[in-house]
């Protein structure tokens, strides 16, 4: 069962400490929001995200997933901003009250390029970082084990929940419940099954908490980890550098008023 989007590949990107990747992602987020220039976002995509995706052998999956997420956003953005941008002066085409303006398109480009950059960066992060490893790395840095447990178990339990829903549906079909093909009909059929499914999950949660307590989940001992999280001096240094870069991206435009 695949519980997350994680792609199990051997690559230098996969081997990076999850915290390094997390910091890199956050740095990009900060830069892209602090520096409102479309070509900065473009440069990050071309100069950082795409090479990383190639090295990680995740290019295809990154492209297909991102397209699914981005296409509707971009279409809406271009239509809405390009056609109805209030400050639009340079009219390229006109239909009644709607006017396609250069200013509108530029504005859409500004927003769009940042969204593209953010989506690509976060999808690549998810594709190359195992949530378990991320939680392990964060717990090692003092994040509460309970918080880390909640995140990782939710990620795993969602597919478990889906499996159980499928199982219950199957069992009801085996008792003569007719399920027609259309998604709407399926949803209708599933509705009465949802209540008990949720109730069942609550009983499960209770039992699971007993089982987890029995395995020392409430222990105050400092947690150890079976599988060490890889790290290196180079990564530590680069994390600090990225932090400096992010701070600079915020401070420089304010202080010097460059933009």
């Amino acid at each position: 069962m695949t519980s997350t989007l994680y792609l199990d590949r051997r690559s230098p990107v996969h081997r990076l400490n999850p915290v390094t990747k997390l910091v890199a992602m956050l740095t990009i987020v900060v830069i892209v929001f602090a520096v409102p220039l479309w070509w900065v976002a473009g440069l990050i995509v071309v100069g950082v995200v795409v090479p990383a995706a190639v090295v990680a052998h995740c290019g295809g999956r990154l492209l297909s997933l991102s397209l699914k997420l981005l296409l509707p956003i971009i279409v809406v953005l271009v239509l809405v901003q390009g056609l109805t941008f209030p400050g639009g002066k340079t009219v390229l085409a006109e239909w009644g009250v709607l006017a396609l303006t250069t200013e509108g398109l530029l504005f859409a480009l500004g927003i769009g390029s940042r969204i593209v950059c953010l989506v690509l960066t976060s999808v690549l992060f998810v594709l190359t970082t195992h949530p378990g490893d991320l939680m392990g790395a964060l717990t090692e840095r003092g994040m509460s084990p309970k918080f880390s447990y909640i995140i990782s178990s939710t990620l795993q339990l969602i597919p478990a929940f889906r499996d159980r829903a499928d199982g219950i549906l199957l069992a009801q079909q085996a008792r003569g419940l007719a399920v027609k093909g259309s998604p709407l009909a399926r949803v209708k059929v599933m509705m009465p099954l949802l209540g008990p499914l949720v109730l069942g999950m609550f009983t499960d949660v209770e039992e699971r908490s007993t089982a987890m307590e029995a395995r020392g989940f409430g222990s105050a001992a400092r947690r150890t980890a079976l599988i060490p999280v890889p790290d290196s001096t180079a990564q530590r240094v680069s994390r600090w550098l990225m932090l400096v870069l992010a701070v600079a991206a915020i401070v420089v435009p304010i202080v010097f008023g460059v933009l």
Partner: protein
């Protein structure tokens, strides 16, 4: 090792007691089998021995529960679970959900207690070999069958090496070969001084492996004794507890005058072999 004296318990908001005047003694390094009809209060008893009652479930607990010389009702749940391990019925709900391989799943408890990494690795490998699940170590715990999950749940508990382990029907989803292996493992653990309390319906195996049997009925422990004595007791049927087929056959032969009443009822295969063979040779 385990000593319950006059223990009574009612769940929060319950009108009636679930258990009443329970006395139970389990020696260090022994296997205690607990049998009883479903709904007799076995799961509640398991939670009391493991300290989950009253720490997690609340309710009214009276009497004393001492495990390894300590009163479990004082102190915290963490204190209790570092002495008593608990394996619950449903293996699916014992998967932490936070781990992506069986290997990490088994280590989960060790991580919680802060066990050093190299010791963890050694202990996980050891327990996996013991339960013959080495081939599952790199699989996802969710991709296993019910029986395999049950073995992982057992491994996840015995890896902690608590002095006492309580197991609520740990072999329900296992086939006979798997069940036999689990009982063999439990016998081996007993040899290392670990005390085991097992709630089971599989009587022939309890007869072979348990040092004592205790019958739960009418909200209390109504009979305790050596497996041979307990399984031959005439009152088992009235408590909705079965027995081995050897006893059933012996009793039937006795009723028909084929076995003299002074011959003890055979409880095990070996005893039955002697009883039914001797009878033939006598004639």
């Amino acid at each position: 090792m385990i000593s319950l004296t006059d223990v009574s318990y009612a769940y929060p908001d319950a009108e009636a007691l679930t258990l009443e005047h329970v006395d139970l003694e389990v020696e260090r390094g022994s296997i205690a089998g607990i049998v009883g009809a479903s709904g007799a209060g076995k799961t509640t008893l398991a939670k009391i021995i493991a300290g989950f009652i009253p720490h997690a479930d609340g309710g009214e607990l009276s009497g004393t529960v001492r495990v390894d010389g300590r009163d479990l009702s004082t102190g915290s749940l963490v204190d209790a679970v570092s002495v008593v391990g608990l394996v619950i019925q449903n293996p699916f709900n014992q998967i932490s959900g936070a781990k992506y391989t069986v290997r990490e799943e088994i280590a989960f408890g060790l991580e919680n207690f802060g066990t050093p990494r190299d010791e963890m690795q050694r202990r996980v490998d050891e327990v996996a070999a013991l339960l013959r699940i080495e081939h599952l170590l790199d699989r996802s715990p969710y991709a296993l069958s019910g029986g395999q999950q049950q073995l992982v749940a057992i491994a996840s508990m015995i890896v902690l090496r608590t002095p006492v382990i309580v197991m609520d029907e740990p072999t329900a989803q296992l086939d006979p070969a798997g069940t036999r292996m689990v009982f063999d493992v439990l016998s081996a653990l007993r040899e290392t001084g670990i005390t085991i309390v097992i709630f089971e319906h599989k009587l022939e195996l309890l007869q072979q492996h348990a040092d004592r049997l205790h019958v739960v009925a009418d909200r209390s422990i109504v009979l305790s004794g050596a497996p041979d004595d307990v399984l031959a007791d005439d009152r088992l049927a009235q408590w909705a507890v079965g027995t081995t087929r050897y006893v059933t056959a012996g009793r039937l032969a006795r009723e028909r005058g084929l076995l003299p009443p002074e011959v003890p009822l055979p409880v095990s295969f070996e005893q039955a072999e002697r009883v039914f063979d001797r009878e033939r040779s006598v004639r």
